[in-house]
């Protein structure tokens, strides 16, 4: 548990509920007076496994909505949730909570307002919850604002990423510490890196278990054994302490033999030999924009390779994962900043600028580069599970001239059939809220939500021009896929409204009104001695 002195909190007036009661979906009237200073529930979906965790900011509570639709309040022992991070497996999550603590134990002090401000503090903790219950308390300090998990799902890793945000620090704190928490309940490993961590990578042993962590921080890299906690080696990226080398992107290459690092604004690629414990620096043709590990097709040898794209040069270089020898150099018309592998293809595009709309398909077996051009710049791209389609969201261009001017000013959906290479550019009536890719019975769909639209659009990727509308009970705010394949959709609704859409059957179930927890009551100070 961590304690802080809390700022004074003012209670807000109660809601005018009559207007809300007349509206079965409880929509907030933006022009009316609600009187609450926080939303009743968080419309951003947190899906963990098959369940949803729904924070209630006003009530300071957390709800769990099970796969069956049961809504239960999660036991946080009176604390209010701040952050929720789903664990890799099952329905468990880490919940960062905080609660007010009054140093005066007097029984007269019941509510937070009863406590003199100078005696009011805030305490924090991290709870591992599953469903509605707390499984255990987790020893992670509240200032750790970067939480992740090892790829094998065995460890959580937490560190302070340098952006303080709402984190509070009291007393003496090592902000350079990285903590590895085994998810099976083992003792945590804490490593002090001496400088602000920027990323953590993992190597994998022959059994597929992440055996080492590679901690990247300012001007150095540490390799830590996840079994013993021993710092095996520390690489310093600069000779002069006044030189600050900040890793921009990093990857483990050669099956864990090397760590490759690019540095912000520099053409150099640092290659750390994790076995021989040496450093080599390679000058690249330009500052790298991405580093990606790829597996070559069997026809090309099947080995691991490193793909490097550049910020200002239209090229992707493929390097041998072990020797770093250049295997191929692909020339592109424009620079790209997103590169990922899908089957035997490298997909590359630029999401950072409106100037480039190209999508490149690089066939790793034939080394052919197939260039396609979306109508508008792409913000994000996904590949269907069967790797048959590429789907991307297009954003409106900031300025447009010439042919296709009207569509240039609209958001859009880009669909590329990776087998036939046929493409479709679809215009959207409003900004996309989100989308999910779904496969059912051998067919691939995009489920798309648009802003202020009470329709879920089901786009058949084999016939993208025909979008099947699915009526929703209210305009949607967020969309997320559950592990069971059903789609959760949150709506603009003051008292809470979530739809669960089953792509297989087309059925929609709604869960509503759950955000009234604690609406008419004032919470007492939790965890008092007389509780």
């Amino acid at each position: 548990m961590h304690r802080y002195r809390a700022p004074a909190r003012r209670l807000s007036p109660l809601l005018a509920l009559a207007a809300l009661a007349c509206d079965p979906w409880g929509r907030l009237d933006p022009s009316g007076s609600t009187g609450v200073d926080q939303p009743l529930w968080d419309e951003q979906l947190t899906v963990v496994g098959d369940s949803l965790y729904v924070p209630l900011p006003y009530a300071g509570a957390l709800l769990n909505i099970s796969a069956e639709g049961d809504v239960r309040e999660v036991d946080l022992d009176g604390a209010r949730p701040e952050r929720i991070i789903g664990l890799p497996a099952g329905d468990a999550a880490y919940v960062f909570v905080r609660w007010p603590v009054c140093e005066d134990d007097s029984k007269d002090i019941v509510y937070e307002d009863d406590c003199p401000p100078e005696l009011l503090e805030e305490a924090t903790e991290v709870r591992q919850v599953e469903g509605q219950r707390t499984v255990e308390l987790v020893d992670i300090a509240p200032h750790f604002n970067s939480i992740g998990f090892s790829p094998d799902g065995r460890n959580a890793v937490a560190y302070f990423s340098g952006n303080l945000g709402s984190a509070e620090i009291q007393g003496v704190v090592d902000l350079t510490e990285v903590v590895f928490q085994p998810l099976d309940g083992g003792a945590p490993i804490a490593v002090s890196t001496g400088s602000t961590p920027t990323d953590v990578l993992f190597t994998t042993d022959a059994d597929g278990i992440n055996d080492r962590a590679v901690i990247l921080s300012s001007s150095q890299v540490m390799v830590v054994s996840l079994s013993t906690g021993e710092v095996q080696v520390t690489y310093h990226l600069a000779l002069d302490v006044d030189s600050v080398i900040v890793p921009q992107d990093a990857m483990v290459a050669g099956g864990g033999r090397y760590a490759l690092l690019s540095v912000a604004g520099a053409r150099e690629l640092y290659r750390l030999d994790l076995v021989n414990k040496s450093i080599d620096i390679e000058d690249l043709q330009d500052s790298p924009s991405t580093l990606t590990e790829v597996r070559l097709p069997e026809a090309a040898g099947g080995a691991l390779a490193s793909a490097i794209s550049y910020s200002n040069v239209g090229a992707v270089d493929l390097l041998d994962g072990l020797t770093n020898e250049r295997l191929e150099a692909y020339t592109l018309d424009h620079p790209v900043n997103v590169v990922f592998q899908s089957g035997d293809l490298l997909i590359a595009y630029n999401s950072a600028t409106d100037a480039y709309k190209d999508v490149y398909l690089i066939d790793l077996a034939t080394n052919e580069v197939d260039e396609h051009r979306a109508n508008n710049p792409l913000s994000s791209v996904q590949i269907t599970v069967d790797q048959g389609f590429l789907v991307g969201l297009m954003r409106p261009e900031s300025s447009s001239t010439g042919e296709g001017t009207y569509a240039d000013g609209l958001p859009g959906l880009y669909v590329l059939d990776l087998n036939t290479r046929r493409e479709a550019n679809l215009a959207l009536g409003s900004s996309p809220v989100g989308y999910e890719l779904v496969e059912r019975d051998g067919q691939s769909f995009v489920l798309l939500l648009l802003e202020d639209d009470e329709t879920l659009y089901k786009v058949d990727l084999t016939r993208p021009s025909f979008a099947e509308p699915v009526e929703l009970p209210a305009p949607a705010r967020d969309i997320a896929a559950r592990a069971d394949g059903r789609i959760a959709i949150s709506h603009n609704s003051a008292l809470g409204l979530i739809s669960i859409y089953d792509p297989a059957t087309g059925d929609i179930e709604t869960i509503h009104g759950f955000a009234n927890v604690g609406l008419l009551s004032t919470p007492t100070l939790p965890r008092r001695a007389d509780d």
Binding site: Y235, L239, S278, D280, I281
Partner: protein, 524 residues
């Protein structure tokens, strides 16, 4: 060939002033396969101090050679050692796998030498005044303290001894009370340090081939140190009659048996000859103003160029006092330097001082009177070298020595080299983008390599075809060498974190390692 009277003078009372020749400490160069431009120390001392100046009788100033760069890498058949001066480390690079390991040494390492048996790398740490002795395999090390303010190191051929001294030709960074009469002698095996007091401002330090003697030549004194003694001490032999203003000792040559030292002094008409066993000093005639003396490749003769009298004087080293042979050189061309072919059959004569754009080929097998042939070049010469197999030669041309070039010539005021076919002396001049700084050749004589000042490229010279190629590097080249018993060329380059490239001529492959200085900071 005209014979001149033998002006031999043998006198224990020190004969007339003689020219002394400072030989080049070429052991490190030989191991690395690097051939410095013909030791300009031969024609006057680029390595001399301020006292060197004035004209010889021939009216030309002493010939200044190109100085070799400091910190040349040292190599064994497997490893290359690079001193990282600013990091106080030495990096060992496996030339096969390119694995890099860096070891900490003393402060300010400037020089690494590898023993003949490749077992030991000796590092001279200028700022901490000590040596680091590194096992080339295990990198285990030990340190041996030296006298302060020394800046150069020589190693005996067998690697048993190292001598550190203050070379006045290099920058003087001495601090505190300083004596310029000191040499530190170190027995590598025992680590024993023996401080020695020798003549003022040593010009050259040489170990005898058998490793039994160390010679240190100064302007006034030749110090002879018997290394077979349990506690070696210098025997100082005066070689200059004029003790107030002694002539500059420029070159030192030893006879193959290590028994006689020959010293060339600037502006003299005789060579000083010292019998090392007895310290007896004599003199032999050498024409007028000898500006260079070299030992022939087979070690049997010494050849001196008397620039003032346009003559070559050839001495038998097994009988230095025997009558020398004299070859007359053309009067019109003041040649002052010589470089011999590896098979001893030919020599190339040139001048770095007169600016004459020509060289003379000396064919030792030609009939008398026909030994010398003149050939013109585009520009004057700052150095020459012959390829290891003698099939080609290379002339270096500085920007300023334009010979008879017109101003619109593409070579006017430009650095250049000329490849010379030693068969017919056909030439191919090559204009360069910068001043050449180092030269190395493969041991088979097929290829030569040059680095250029502040230039990120390596110039490859095909000696047989007289063709050049340019290999781009990632940054400006610093030092160059050839891995012994291979054709692999290594080029260290300017980079704050260390950079070295390995070039394989047969494949054209260039492998570069950057950042090896970071390896010293890796915490294991």
């Amino acid at each position: 060939m005209r014979r001149k009277p033998n002006l031999l003078l043998l006198s224990p009372h020190f004969g007339p002033l003689l020219a002394a020749l400072a030989g080049i400490g070429c052991s490190a160069s030989e191991m690395s396969g690097a051939y410095a431009f013909d030791s300009g120390t031969s024609e006057g001392s680029g390595a001399q101090d301020d006292g060197f100046g004035g004209d010889g009788d021939d009216g030309y100033v002493p010939e200044e050679p190109e100085a070799e760069l400091a910190k040349p890498p040292a190599a064994t058949p497997r490893y290359v050692f690079v001193a990282n001066t600013s990091r106080n480390t030495v990096t060992r690079i496996d030339s096969t796998s390119l694995d890099v390991i860096t070891a900490p040494v003393g402060v300010g390492p400037t020089q690494v030498l590898v023993s003949e048996n490749n077992a030991l790398a000796v590092v001279f740490n200028e700022d901490s005044d000590d040596l680091t002795l590194l096992d080339t395999e295990s990198l285990s090390s030990r340190s041996v303290g030296l006298r302060p303010n020394l800046n150069t190191m020589e190693m005996s051929g067998d690697g048993a001894w190292v001598a550190a001294w203050h070379n006045g030709a290099l920058a003087d960074t001495s601090t505190g009370a300083t004596s310029y009469n000191e040499v530190s002698l170190v027995n590598v095996a025992s680590g024993m340090h023996i401080p020695l007091i020798v003549g003022y401002n040593p010009r050259a330090v040489r170990f005898s081939a058998d490793g039994q003697r160390l010679l240190v030549v100064s302007d006034e004194v030749l110090s002879i140190i018997d290394l077979t003694e349990p506690e070696p001490e210098p025997v100082r032999v005066r070689i200059a009659l004029d003790t107030i203003d002694p002539p500059l000792a420029e070159e030192l040559v030893l006879t193959p048996d290590g028994q006689v030292a020959i010293i060339r002094q600037f502006g003299a008409t005789e060579l000083v000859v010292v019998e090392l066993a007895t310290g007896t000093v004599g003199a032999i005639a050498v024409g007028d103003n000898p500006t260079d003396i070299d030992v022939t490749p087979d070690g049997s003769q010494a050849v001196a160029v008397a620039r003032g009298s346009n003559e070559l004087w050839i001495y038998a080293l097994d009988d230095i006092f025997a009558e020398p042979s004299v070859v007359v050189l053309p009067d019109a061309m003041p040649f002052g330097s010589i470089v011999m072919s590896p098979d001893n059959s030919r020599g190339l004569l040139y001048s770095t001082a007169s600016g004459v754009p020509a060289f003379a080929a000396w064919d030792r097998a030609a009939p008398e009177g026909e030994e010398i042939a003149l050939y013109g070049l585009l520009k004057g010469i700052s150095g020459m070298s012959v390829s290891p197999d003698g099939a080609a030669a290379l002339a270096i041309h500085p920007t300023s020595q334009n010979g008879d070039l017109r101003g619109d010539s593409p070579f006017y005021n430009r650095d250049a080299v000329t490849l010379i076919d030693m068969g017919d002396y056909f030439t191919n001049p090559i204009r360069l983008t910068a001043k050449p700084v180092e030269l190395a050749s493969t041991s088979d004589g097929a290829l030569g390599f040059i680095t250029l000042e502040d230039t990120p490229s390596l110039l490859q010279l095909d000696y047989s075809r007289l063709i050049h190629d340019e290999i781009p590097l990632s940054s400006a080249a610093a030092h160059l060498g050839v891995i012994p018993e291979s054709q692999t060329v290594y080029v260290s380059q300017e980079h704050s974190l260390g950079r070295i490239s390995f070039y394989t001529p047969s494949t054209g492959q260039l492998q570069t390692i950057t950042g090896f200085e970071l390896n010293a900071a890796i915490e294991r």
